[in-house]
Amino acid sequence: MPLLWLFLGVVAIAAVGYVLGRRRALQSAQGDIRRLHSLPSYYGSNVFIKALVPGIAALLIWLLAQPFYINSTVSGMIPETAIADGSNRGLVMAEVRRTADGLNNAVAVGAMDSNLASDPNADVAVVTQALKDAGQIVTSDITPTVLVAAQSYRAKSNAGRNYMSVLVLLLTVVGAALGLRDSHADFRARNVVEGSVKALLIAAASIAIFTTVGIILSLVFNTLEFFRLYPWTDFFFGLEWAPSFSGRGGSSKLGILPLLWGTFYISIVALAVSVPIGLFAAMYLSEYASPKVRATAKPLLEILAGIPTIVYGLFALLTVGPLLVSVFGKDGLGWMQAGTAVMTAGLVMGIMLIPFVSSLSDDIINAVPQAMRDGSYGLGATKSETIKQVVLPAALPGIVGAILLAASRAIGETMIVVLGAGAAARLSMNPFDAMTTVTAKIVSQLTGDADFASPEALVAFALGMTLFVLTLGLNVFALYIVRKYREQYE
């Protein structure tokens, strides 16, 4: 039975259950809704849920588990002798699966007799020819072992499918019956439905969490792999970043410190630009600007947030860099060698972050109750005194949050760095030197043509992991500050 039909069948049973459950509950109350614990539709939903959930859950679990089970049993059927030199069990199993699929499709389009497809004594050449005629891709000539294995694979899959259909439908019917049995006036159907809604929400939340865990695990495994190939002390404390791409793995120097320093330096410059400007802009917009000005200025500012970072990168490369060179370069103060520098990337990144800071802070400042401002004005405070001493302290937790969010963005930004700050990993105090960051190096390590198992590529995961831990630490710190402040003032 095709999956879609099975699914529709389950839904149909559940739907019938809904109608029956509703009717049965009404009957048990002699048609008087007031004597029911819950509204009739809740009784229907109760049956619907109890029918649908076990059936669908069984379906999903079976679909996930069956391939593993059949793979392992079938692969046990293939004798060691049937595996050619230079091949391995995995490749043979892939061949088996392809053949099984081919047989299935050939039977489905009618190019092959289903008896032939499952005949263990069939002539291999005949079957191969039939498969080729049916337009099924067969890479090499099928060996008898593979054919037998494929036939068994096919048989097991089909049988599995059938068992699954029976089980799923059975569970659905049993679930519906259980639900129906409960459909009487005293049953608290509403609470059951409420509980299911909650379970659904919890499931949605868990998906987000499990994905995060999955991402972290993949990072962790690759990072551990990297540390098996490269000493962790050199990674964390090495002062030099000089990967070699020639494949002579041992000669690479993969110290993270120059990259961290670059990240830190550029982020500091970016925050030094964006935090004051963004905050002042937010204060003007929320406290001083007339509604008209606010209505035009705020969207304008937010347009900045919609510009793709690559455009900012171009701006850094083509405009800001040359501008800075003309002032601080050879012809000016002589501090700057080329347009790509910490200062260039930091300034442009700061501009990019202004709308983040200002828009978030503006919302937060606006959320401070008017009564608080009135209290201050009522005591004869001026506007700026009120903002400085009442509004900002009240908004501080939110503003700190906004700043840290901007900091995370700065740390994670890549494009502007690649185009604005250059690619040289360097430990230098001069903000007019070219430097690079962790993210930019992750990109360049993975886009090279290095072998994916070499330390030069795997280091990207270690870099990513470090970055992850750093931003996590930043967020935890932010939460700590916010909470401490809240305790004090709420």
Binding site: P291, P369, Q370, A371, M372, R373, D374, G375, S376, Y377, G378, L379, G380, A381, T382, E385, Q389, V390, P393, A394, Q488, Y489, E490
Partner: protein, 265 residues
């Protein structure tokens, strides 16, 4: 009905502190105050009474220009304090509000410590030259606000952590810490228990010796107890204004009589 006649009353004529003539207030298209004229005397407690929504708070907020902070609010007419037009271009509303303090209908302590809440005004206006002096202002204000005993051990605790009634008394103490000449109080006792109410009323009575106090209240008894003058508002109009004793015993307008005897509200 109210034993107003037993209350000692100061009915000698004082100087006029606030003189409002032909005041109109609009919120957008809503006409909230309709041609109100009233003379509020110095060293007197004036009570504003009237049904909910009749414009008591609105009129009170005109007297220290707090309505300026509401965009849609428009005030016309002539309001003079000590003969000076407070809506004149040359008048700085900030300075005006230092002179005309206000306690709001809802308690609104700052998210600061109790101490800083009280010290806020004195600090802004440079009223204390030393820490000791500031400490003294804070203690005196809290005592007058009838909350000193409850908070003296936790002056550094946040003001927002107090109970609603305590917060209201904190706000009263905060308002008197700046030594205003006029104190506007919008239902200061609506969240207070009878003991605290009595203490606040005592404070109001004490303030009368130096200041002019305007109090909005929904309690007839309170108006009768603390005020010398009473103004009755109804639907944005000032219906009747006169000596408290007269308003409560022998009102001229039938609406006033209905209201104070509980027939309209």
């Amino acid at each position: 009905m109210y034993d107003v006649l037993h209350t000692e009353r100061n009915v000698t004529q004082n100087d006029v502190k606030i003189n409002a003539q032909g005041v109109q207030v609009y919120y957008g298209d809503t006409h909230a105050i309709k041609d109100v004229s009233v003379e509020i005397e110095d060293k007197t407690v004036t009570a504003f009474i009237g049904p909910s929504g009749c414009g008591k708070s609105t009129f009170l907020r005109c007297l220290n220009r707090m309505n300026d902070t509401i965009d849609i609010c428009r005030v016309t007419g002539d309001i003079r304090i000590d003969g000076e037009d407070i809506y004149d271009k040359r008048v700085d509303p900030v300075q005006l509000r230092a002179k005309v303090g206000m306690v709001f209908q809802k308690p609104n302590p700052f998210p600061k410590s109790i101490y800083d809440n009280i010290a806020y005004g004195p600090r802004i206006h440079g009223m204390a030259s030393s820490k000791a002096e500031l400490d003294e202002i804070v203690e005196r204000s809290l005592r007058r606000g009838a909350i000193w005993d409850e908070v003296k051990d936790r002056l550094q605790a946040p003001g927002t952590g107090l109970s609603g009634g305590q917060q209201q008394r904190l706000c009263i103490a905060r308002a008197i810490a700046t030594e205003p000449e006029v104190l506007l109080m919008d239902e200061p006792c609506s969240a207070l228990d009878p003991i605290a109410t009595a203490q606040v009323e005592e404070l109001i009575d004490e303030l009368r010796s130096n200041y002019s106090v305007v109090i909005v209240t929904h309690s007839m008894q309170q108006a009768a107890r603390v005020s010398q003058k009473t103004a009755f508002f109804h639907l944005g109009n000032l219906v009747e204004y006169g000596d408290t004793g007269k308003i409560f015993t022998n009102p001229e307008d039938s609406r006033t009589e209905s209201y104070i005897t509980g027939r309209i509200g």
